[in-house]
Symmetry: C2
Subunit: 233 residues, 2 copies
Amino acid sequence: MSAAETSNWQQIHDVVLERIQSRRWKPGDLIPREQELAEEFGCARATINRALQALADSGFLERRRKAGTRVAIHPVRKATLSIPIIEQEIEQNGFTYAYALLTDAVLPPPADIGAWLEVPPDSTVRHVEALHSASGRPYVFEDRWIHLDAIGAAASADFSTVSPNRWLVENATYTRGKITLSAIGAGSRESELLACEPGAALFRLERRTWNKTAVITVANLTFAPGYRMHTML
Amino acid sequence: MSAAETSNWQQIHDVVLERIQSRRWKPGDLIPREQELAEEFGCARATINRALQALADSGFLERRRKAGTRVAIHPVRKATLSIPIIEQEIEQNGFTYAYALLTDAVLPPPADIGAWLEVPPDSTVRHVEALHSASGRPYVFEDRWIHLDAIGAAASADFSTVSPNRWLVENATYTRGKITLSAIGAGSRESELLACEPGAALFRLERRTWNKTAVITVANLTFAPGYRMHTML
DNA sequence: TCGAATAATATGTCCATACATAATATGCAT
DNA sequence: ATGCATATTATGTATGGACATATTATTCGA
């Protein structure tokens, strides 16, 4: 069966993907060589290569030189969750965004945060607490620690109108980040700020951001009850 | 400055990425044409194209025909969270996996689940409840609904030893999925099964899986207290 | 029998070229 | 000026050929 004349790599990509999803080529199976597929589809080997590389990138295929190409055994359950700027997230949902700075201080960090930031024992960091709200209702509590040695400009940043969340996105480049998601019970501080019962189940996002090897900032975001984070796969 | 002889696309990729991250090319900036970069790096335009495409795929660049290539304004905060099979996740952490089937029935779904599964009003679905545990301690409660019309083989699957979680990964292909993450307070059922206080904050993952246009299954996973989900960006 | 050297092979990458396509820029007629 | 047709241009994709590289398979000697 020779495929349609129109031999662009995306169509080949789709045909191959269909063969995988329909189980004509099962997980673990070795699929034909690039040269053979090129003949089947009536195109150059490079075109096949492009299609198969894309499928390998998205985890459907595993490829090794000389060993050939085989269908991935565990069809890679990868979900990409996009981390929006809080302000944008709120406005996209049709609410009015508001921001309030609660505390702002430069001080020696507590031991645990100091360790997370990987700062020398006697250095100081900037600690900011802020509340983001949506149409007047508390949305998320931001607890932010900034490593001033790693990003000097942050020492003079004014967080009274612009949140650290936004300022850092716009002014700090990062090369790597680590996120931890969990559920925590509201303490007295959270229950007060987020207008909920003590002990209420809250969604929490902890994040550490690096530039090269230096930790720039640690952020703990605690969301108001009912928050739901969506993602596709 | 003409770059080194070494012209492979990954090196070009890295050099360009460095220029973005060092803000030599700032967000919104138009970067040189492929032809110009090819001359700078002393390679073919196709090689530049490969490098820039990869950077566009990962969100650092935005490219449009004729308009040129520019640095993305919002450096794409995408985190890929991999969704493992529960059994593997537990064993990777060094615990002993165990599985217990709690209930298993074919019945007409409650209204909300029926709507999620997009089944006709009078049809029946398979409902399975199961508990996964790690070294004897409850780990996650699986509340699973399976659309039998969409995946017939599931009607005769034996879930007494193999969890729906695993069976479906191995036997059902999907083309699309949607995940919702949230925090909920433990109800009486959860507190009993997961050995925690009623009202304890629990991490929850709700998932809907499609094949083409038909919903295959809905899964609600409620994790024991203290569960943390990690991801990189 | 075992291990090391060697051959074979599938994918990885590159090149030079050509044409396709989408978007912008330009020029012309009104 | 305004609107429309046309030229220009940067990226997108395809080709065929070449060589690189990682593995596997084979051969041969100790």
